[in-house]
């Protein structure tokens, strides 16, 4: 077992991502291209993203479908290779590693939790075998007795009982299955957990259980999280810092409280405006106009400009880079030039 004392955040980043990009070739088949003269098509799922995550920190990526957040998650655990840029974990850049043995020293220190606990557990294996698999695969312990003791400990850690180990996944509810996924992820003593929408398939009361568990485990084990979600309220609750993604790029990165109290990028502000007003303050909200364009053919300049009420000619041609504003990084010409007014965005449009 690792030392139980939580690591101090802010001691230099554990994970550092620089100019990360991942393109997918979505061209029609070669024959169609030759016969019909169709061009190659490249989907820029992630197109130049920078961020760093400190030890013991929770960094979240939030955005709508197709913004590239899940692709970043898969890059961050090495399931995809980067097209460009680097991902450094504790000093090892594994973004473009190709060989198994290159990954080996860090492989067990990074784990992932998936969205769907129904699809990510083998239905024919008993829970004990599922959780023991990483221990056996990395040869962390030998002997059934030691492995069983470790599995019991993991089950207790995720608030299940050792007796649950003999059951099959179908005997559990969605929330319990997600606990099993978390236990399996913890089995290799990871330091960095990538969680791709871990509570999106769960009911709210179960979601609360899982979010509480994740926070407890982070405190107990000093874990570092990269948390992916489309749910802004969940992100607000769990994160230290948040990155807002739009069409493969980061629009804004800021500490969670600051981002939600004072969003700067027009897209962040619109996204925040879509959250239902549970406190019934009667706050005027503005539905985001339009939809996310296709990442195959993104708009020129700032990708958000067709939906942005503050866009001008510069936004249409020049792609904004993230620039510091207080404790945030904002990629917006309007914010840089000070022509985006503070306060709520006016001009509500009919739905």
């Amino acid at each position: 077992m690792r030392d139980a004392a939580p690591a101090k955040p802010g001691k230099g980043p554990l994970v550092k991502v620089v100019d990360l990009a991942r393109y997918f070739d979505v061209s029609p088949p070669l024959l169609n291209r030759m016969l019909e003269g169709k061009p190659r098509q490249i989907l820029r799922a992630v197109d130049g993203v920078d961020f760093a995550i400190g030890k013991g920190e929770t960094f979240s990526l939030v955005g709508e479908s197709g913004c590239g957040k899940s692709t970043v998650a898969r890059l961050a655990v090495g399931l995809y290779r980067a097209t460009r840029g680097s991902i450094e974990f504790d000093g090892h850049d594994f973004g473009r590693m190709t060989r198994r043995q290159d990954m080996a020293p860090i492989r067990s220190r990074i784990q992932m939790i998936f969205q769907d606990p129904y699809a990510s557990l083998n239905p024919r294996w008993r829970v004990r075998e599922i959780i023991a698999e990483p221990i056996r695969a990395y040869r962390l312990l030998s002997g059934d007795r030691a492995i069983n003791a470790r599995v019991d400990e993991l089950l207790r850690q995720v608030r299940l009982t050792p007796a649950d180990g003999t059951k099959y996944p179908h005997e559990f509810s969605g929330g319990q299955r997600q606990r099993i996924s978390i236990a399996r992820a913890l089995a290799s003593n990871p330091e960095f957990l990538v969680c791709d929408e871990p509570t999106s398939a769960l009911d709210v009361s179960v979601q609360a259980q899982i979010l509480n568990l994740m926070k407890d485990l982070q405190r107990e084990l000093g874990l570092t999280y990269l948390f992916i979600s489309h749910n802004l309220a969940v992100v607000y609750h769990i994160s230290d810092r948040v990155g807002v993604m739009y069409l493969g790029r980061l629009a804004e990165v800021a500490p969670a409280r600051a981002l939600f109290r004072r969003p700067r990028h027009p897209y962040t502000r619109m996204l925040l405006d879509t959250i239902p007003d549970m406190d019934m303050t009667g706050r005027q909200r503005m539905p985001v106009a339009g939809e996310v364009p296709s990442p195959i053919n993104p708009p020129s300049g700032c990708a958000f400009h067709p939906r942005c009420p503050f866009a001008n000619d510069r936004c249409k041609v020049e792609r904004p880079n993230p620039l510091p504003h207080d404790d945030a990084l904002v990629a917006c010409h309007g914010v840089e030039e000070g022509r985006v007014p503070e306060g709520p965005i006016a001009a509500p449009r009919a739905a």
């Binding site: 009361s205 179960v206 607000y236 925040l272 549970m278 019934m280 009919a350 739905a351």
Partner: protein, 328 residues
Amino acid sequence: MQNEPLLRVDGLRVEFPGRRGTLVAVDDVSFDIAPGEVLGVVGESGAGKSMTGSAIIGLLEPPGRIAGGSISLDGRRIDNLPYEEMRRIRGKHIGAIFQDPLTSLNPLYSVGRQLVETITTHSDISEKAARDRALALLQEVGIPAPERRIDQYPHQFSGGMRQRVVIALALCANPRLIVADEPTTALDVSIQAQIIALLKRLCREHGTAVMLVTHDMGVIAETADRVAVMYAGRIAEIGPVRDVIKNPRHPYTVGLMGSIPRMGHDAERLTQIDGSMPRLTEIPAGCAFNPRCPYVFDRCRVERPDRMAVAPFHEAACWKYADGVGHA
């Protein structure tokens, strides 16, 4: 609530007969919806909210069946009508919107053809007039350039636009009631807000009553006038939406509200209701919530509570409020 109810559901019971006994998916559910009112029905998976909606539109999947109680629309019972007669009511008087817009649209027909067919089925107008009406509907639900879009097929629309088409389809015959089952769940947050605003506007302009089934309390808070909270096949609490959200009475609702992460609320931990909702095969005796309830006492384990008034128009099915104690 001074109006005569448009929809009255009284003691509804939905059963699924099976080899290992009968499952009761909806158990003694009663509520009214007034014309122009939006009733939100909220609950977690398996609470019976969608089943209640399906029973009202007469589309329960066999072997599910209505085993008791009654459903009346405008004073007329509709739960015991023959299939053909119910089919005419559905569409003309009751519109339905489901979660996944793709499954409600026929991929082989253009959007216009589906709209025109629905309009001519329910009203006696010419093909030409029906097409004009279809164009007007597409315009109304906010589809840009409807003249161009009307002859396109469902796959050519994005998810949000498809849901708008489904709403247009539901509106074809000017129904008095719309049953919307998770209409925004499959959509992105920004599109979700657009669809909610659209539903609200249509409801206001046409005086259509809406039964909005969802698991998302935020959507209810935005849209509904009243809300019914369901748990294990029964209504745990029902009341004006503001009241229920700000001052929930049933311990389940209290837990549910506390478990929702909210912006600006800096709680280190969310309120947690331990355990999960019982499966239909193992609903406990007494109050179905009693094994998870922090306030449980002896009576809850043996006797099932009925709904009792806790505030004006606000009822909760909880023994805490027996003897009028809860009024304080």
